[in-house]
């Protein structure tokens, strides 16, 4: 009898895991809570640092999954996990020889940072909104005008104890730089300001992109966190920050405020952690067996992780983890047969 692996989540990590398992002759079932494969990447327009359309990564991956004949169950949300089964919300229990959890992350809800007025003022956006507008082909102010001044605010929902998010979400710095450049390209007359606490350019080509944004795109980087946004009489927003590098308060009005939202732990992590032995780290992400050679292993035999379920990661890292998890699953199943 052939072994069966259940993959919880059909984002890039889950799809890559399924493909790599198939390559080793192991069948898997992808259990995806939404009605489509692709996860968060479906809503993204272009990827840092190369401005590659997200569809160029997602399209071939989806096709390969389809070609490989991987069983995909959409609209199926996992409620509980165990090394030998996954219980769905519907009450159905799927038995398995191993489980790979690739359930990803949740975007930080910017309304929680009320002082920035997301959901209160029309001209406050999140990075996810910008991607959606780019996908729809129309970035414009509510009145249809082109913005003259845009402020990006880094670390919304990251490194912020006030909202219980102590961790750094890593990928938002480069996302902010990428989107600032995209806005400058769309609106060359527009002034773009990025307000940051630290700029963390961890990946290949990221630092180079940051420098290009500074030198060639004339994007202004101000080290200081915006304290609040308030509406002006003419329907714009006034923002206040400290320009910490000159030690003076700074204020300005802008047409658009873009909140660069972070990644928070997936809301399903708590339920999955009820499987004995599985646990969350203090930031809510699932804690792998160790951070080095066991980064895709849970502390429980037969339960594996891949992608942003364990920590914020970029697309490439998530896919690599999907492939690596598949390798470790194959080793585990091979040793048991």
């Amino acid at each position: 009898m052939s072994k069966k692996v259940i993959i919880v989540g059909g984002g890039v990590a889950g799809m890559q895991a399924a493909l790599s398992l198939k390559g080793q002759g192991i069948d898997s079932v992808i259990v995806e809570k939404s009605d489509r494969l692709g996860g968060k990447l479906c809503d993204w327009h272009k990827l840092f640092p190369t401005f590659t359309p997200a569809s160029e990564v997602l399209g071939p991956l989806k096709e390969a999954v389809e070609r490989a004949g991987v069983e995909v169950r959409t609209g199926a949300e996992a409620e509980r996990i165990a090394p030998d089964s996954v219980l769905l919300k519907s009450g159905e229990r799927l038995s398995a020889d191993a489980v790979v959890v690739c359930s990803g992350f949740d975007l930080f809800d910017a309304r929680i940072k009320e002082e920035y007025g997301y959901g209160i003022y029309d001209n406050v956006y999140t990075t996810a909104d910008i991607e959606r507008m780019m996908n729809e082909g129309a970035v414009a102010l509510p009145g249809g005008h082109a913005p003259r001044r845009i402020a990006f605010l880094h670390c919304v929902g990251s490194r912020d104890e006030k909202v219980g998010q102590r961790h750094c979400s890593r990928v938002c710095c480069i996302t902010g730089v990428k989107q600032a450049m995209e806005m400058k390209t769309l609106f060359p007359q527009c002034e773009v300001y990025n307000f940051y606490m630290d700029i963390r350019m961890f990946g290949p080509g990221y630092e180079e992109l940051y420098r290009q944004a500074q030198e060639e795109y004339n994007i202004h980087f101000v080290r200081g966190r915006i304290s609040e946004a308030s509406p002006t009489f003419d329907g714009r927003l006034q923002i206040k920050a400290e320009d910490t590098l000159v030690g003076r308060p700074l204020k300005m009005s802008v047409d658009m405020l873009v909140l660069i939202i972070g990644m928070r732990a997936g809301e399903s992590n708590g339920r999955f952690a009820q499987c004995p032995g599985v646990g969350c780290a203090s930031n809510g992400f699932l804690a792998p067996a160790d951070l080095f050679s066991g980064s895709v292993l849970s502390p429980v035999e037969g339960v594996f992780y891949a992608g942003t379920v364990t920590a914020p990661k970029n697309v490439g890292e998530s896919m690599s983890e999907g492939a690596y998890a598949a390798l470790r699953v194959a080793e585990y199943l091979g040793a048991r047969s």
Partner: protein
């Protein structure tokens, strides 16, 4: 009129709605590399003048880029043009050239 000795403080905030950024843009156009500054402070750390006076090159050029020109020319006059800052800058900015440029552009302030 009786003077009671009270005054009103001017707001300290850098107000980017009021500041005239024309000169700042002119400076940036001539030396776009200045925008690559990551404010590491090595220029100020190695500065000969900064060791003897309050001169802080990093702070002055940042203020200039925000349209705060007042006193920038006088500050830049403290520079002895030794060029050590240029040797240490990790972003490869011609810092000595920036001093000359700001002095040239902001002489009237």
């Amino acid at each position: 009129m009786i003077q009671w000795g009270y005054t009103i403080n001017q707001p300290r905030a850098v107000n980017l709605d009021r500041n005239d950024l024309t000169a700042a843009r002119r400076i940036i156009r001539q030396m776009p590399e200045l925008q690559a500054c990551i404010a590491c402070g090595s220029c100020t750390a190695t500065c000969t003048a900064g060791n003897l006076t309050q001169f802080n090159f990093r702070k002055v050029h940042t203020l200039v880029r925000r349209g705060e020109y007042e006193g920038a020319y006088e500050e830049m006059n403290k520079c002895m043009l030794c060029g050590k800052c240029r040797l240490v800058c990790p972003r490869g900015i011609n810092t000595r050239g920036v001093v000359m440029l700001i002095k040239r552009e902001l002489g009237e302030y």
